[in-house]
Symmetry: C2
Subunit: 420 residues, 2 copies
């Protein structure tokens, strides 16, 4: 019986203490963690080499092994991430609003830590350090439940984190690794009412579905991004192709990559040949009949096929782009609101009223006018790091940084008032 | 088979339209609703008379019948509530924050409606109008699931609301009554992922527990208030008694009423005789030995008994007050953080550092210095009306007004940017 209860108890106690730490103390502790990870570099890399070898032997695909893999450069990036979080403002204690009650009390709405967070994630070990450092800065304790494939790497990282915290008189109990690797562990986290204040699933569709369906503690859904870019005639077509190529090709596995391009019928003729030329040899196009016809003579290196209904629903996470013709802006918005996952949606247009209408009517965390959907990211939004990208509306939406880990407390300063 | 699915579909569609309504249109619609309720006064009172008669025949306690009961004055209050909501600012479309990305795009964080809300509540018919009007103003559609005892009253109210909305070219589909009265109805609401964006249970402990444990849609827990007032020596003892009497006696059934008073040992001697004198004949005192001894000669009309462990855990919702002696401020804080329900907690003191420490260390939605806990209320906080008082930290905490029914959308205005 590998119960997590001792860790829940320790995390809750540690969080009570961490909630009262000053920014200076938290930053000093994070600085010591960054130094400790640097000092433990060899140990972390050795553990990671063990994980990757085991994964390869077990037949893991090379793309997935790469997500698991650490080298000196990637450890530098982990350390940079912590240093960035140190520079961020402390979200705790901020007075978000304040006003006087008619009887004279001052009512303040003050930010406080959310409590104990749990993150359930897949193989990337950098998430271990990112999630810990954001949580610590926000005064939250965190339970880390990485994939069993990364267990050695995560153990080495958490050991270094705890050593750093201990050295700087921080609170080492504020981070715990769920390390049995069993599936029952996830169920225990999902049922830990009163111990865990939020669970963040970060990974594939299947993981997120499982967490959302089974959790009895609050969950923030992340990730799934079936993103669209809608092209109107009143726009520079070369620029449109450049933005779409960026949104499709720069990192096709990212949730903010574009999956379907919607083209206004009046833009088909100038747009499609340019798009076909740009993506030839770089991505497959799955077109509806009208957009396919508008390509004209296709470049020989272009992989071109017919789109079907299921393509509109698919987050390809691959070098595949679906293309659909729409007769109007309303039709584009309706398609997006039907098939989209409320993540990131863009319009390319020089029509002022159209841009405003699109922004208003599309229901998504991030709506872009004339820019690539790839910008949906905590770092790009200036949050320093991210816990993930929320695709729900409840509590947090879009890229989640420190604020997603806070709640509020009302502080009421009276002078003896009673209610009439 | 009384499936709510047709109502879910209609609410979702209506919410899409309501999200785009201007403040002027929403206010005009709410004005028409207020007029329609006024016009339907006789019909509503007749339906309510039927409900209350049935309840009395069924043996409902008179205190509960009173919660169900409507008269002209109470209908006036319902109408006033709607008029107050009309005067509130529209929360939708507010730009909460905005900044420039280094590549020049403007990123705006804009408030949007949360979506479709469902409220599961007990007998008070005024909740029907309050919840509807807040939801409508916030651009949210709402499913109302009142108690079966109030079904006639709620039917008459919702009929008037829909008539008002239709008259002012509002969106009548934005409010639906779940009217089968079956328990299965609640389960259907709790499982309606993708249709219901938040469920608000408002009522007794048992209802809230059931909703929280079974919901697969987001829930905001409300209500349970085991509230404390902690008395330090450095305070005017007569004032302390006045504040405690207000917090206990003004409305003992309210969640913000005080249940346990914690008294610093050095305050026992001046404080307890005054408290006993004030509450004699008005409330029962359940004292620990030290506070009981400090009363000295008890007034003959005082109901006095010995407190036991279970008293510290109980939300009496009655004319009963538990009293416990503490040796220090730390002990008071520890008692509150152990037994409290994170609702409303108060310290009475003239010690500056002590007040600050109490505010920082007590984990509750509302922490008071030198005022009655009875002020925890949407109306008192200036929110116009309230959906309930959240006792959780996730999404909303404390009294919930319009803001609790909003989420955000990021609007990104670019000029052709791609991610480097």
């Amino acid at each position: 019986m590998d119960s997590l209860m001792p860790q829940f108890v320790s995390l809750k106690k540690a969080q009570g203490l961490l909630a009262l730490e000053s920014r200076a103390k938290k930053d000093a502790a994070l600085g010591a963690v960054s130094a400790a990870i640097n000092a433990a570099r060899e140990e972390i890399l050795a553990a990671n080499a063990g994980d990757t070898e085991k994964a390869r032997c077990g037949g893991m695909k090379e793309a997935l092994v790469d997500r698991l893999f650490l080298n000196d450069r990637r450890i530098d990036a982990i350390i940079d991430g912590i240093e960035t979080v140190i520079r961020l403002d402390d979200p705790v204690g901020k007075i978000r609003a304040g006003w006087r009650h008619p009887q004279g009390m001052l009512i303040e709405q003050c930010a406080v830590p959310l409590g104990v967070a749990a993150i359930i994630y897949e193989s990337r070990p950098n998430v271990t350090a990112d999630a810990f450092s954001l949580a610590y800065k926000a005064g939250c304790a965190i339970l880390l439940r990485g994939s069993s494939a990364a267990l050695g790497s995560n153990r080495a990282l958490v050991k270094a984190i705890k050593a750093g915290l201990a050295k700087a008189e921080g609170i080492p109990g504020a981070v715990e690794l769920a390390a049995s690797g069993s599936r029952g562990e996830i169920d225990e986290i999902l049922g830990a009412r009163g111990w865990i204040d939020v669970v963040l699933p970060r990974g594939g569709k299947e993981l997120i579905r499982r967490v959302v369906e089974n959790a009895r503690v609050p969950v923030i859904e992340t990730g799934e991004g079936n993103c669209h870019i809608y092209v109107e005639p009143l726009f520079d077509m070369a620029k449109a192709v450049e933005i779409i190529a960026n949104a499709k090709l720069q990192k096709p596995g990212a949730c903010n990559a574009v999956e379907t391009v919607l083209v206004h019928k009046d833009a088909l003729k100038p747009f499609m040949p340019l798009l076909a030329k740009c993506l030839a040899g770089r991505a497959e196009l799955r077109c509806d009949p009208a957009s396919k016809a508008a390509i004209g003579e296709a470049p020989s290196s272009l992989v071109l096929s017919d789109a079907c209904e299921s393509d509109w629903e698919t987050e390809f996470l691959d070098y595949i782009l679906a293309v659909k013709t729409v007769g109007s802006r309303e039709e584009a918005v309706a398609h997006i609101n039907k098939y989209g996952t409320r993540h990131s949606e863009a319009i390319l247009t020089n029509d002022y009223a159209g841009a405003e209408e699109f922004m208003r009517c599309v229901d998504a965390a991030c709506v872009y006018v004339n820019a690539s959907t790839r910008f949906t990211d905590g770092g790009e939004f200036g949050f320093g790091a991210e816990l993930g990208i929320s695709t729900q509306k409840f509590h947090a939406r879009g890229p989640m940084g420190l604020e997603a880990l806070t709640s509020i407390k009302y502080r009421i300063h009276g002078t003896g008032q009673i209610r009439e």
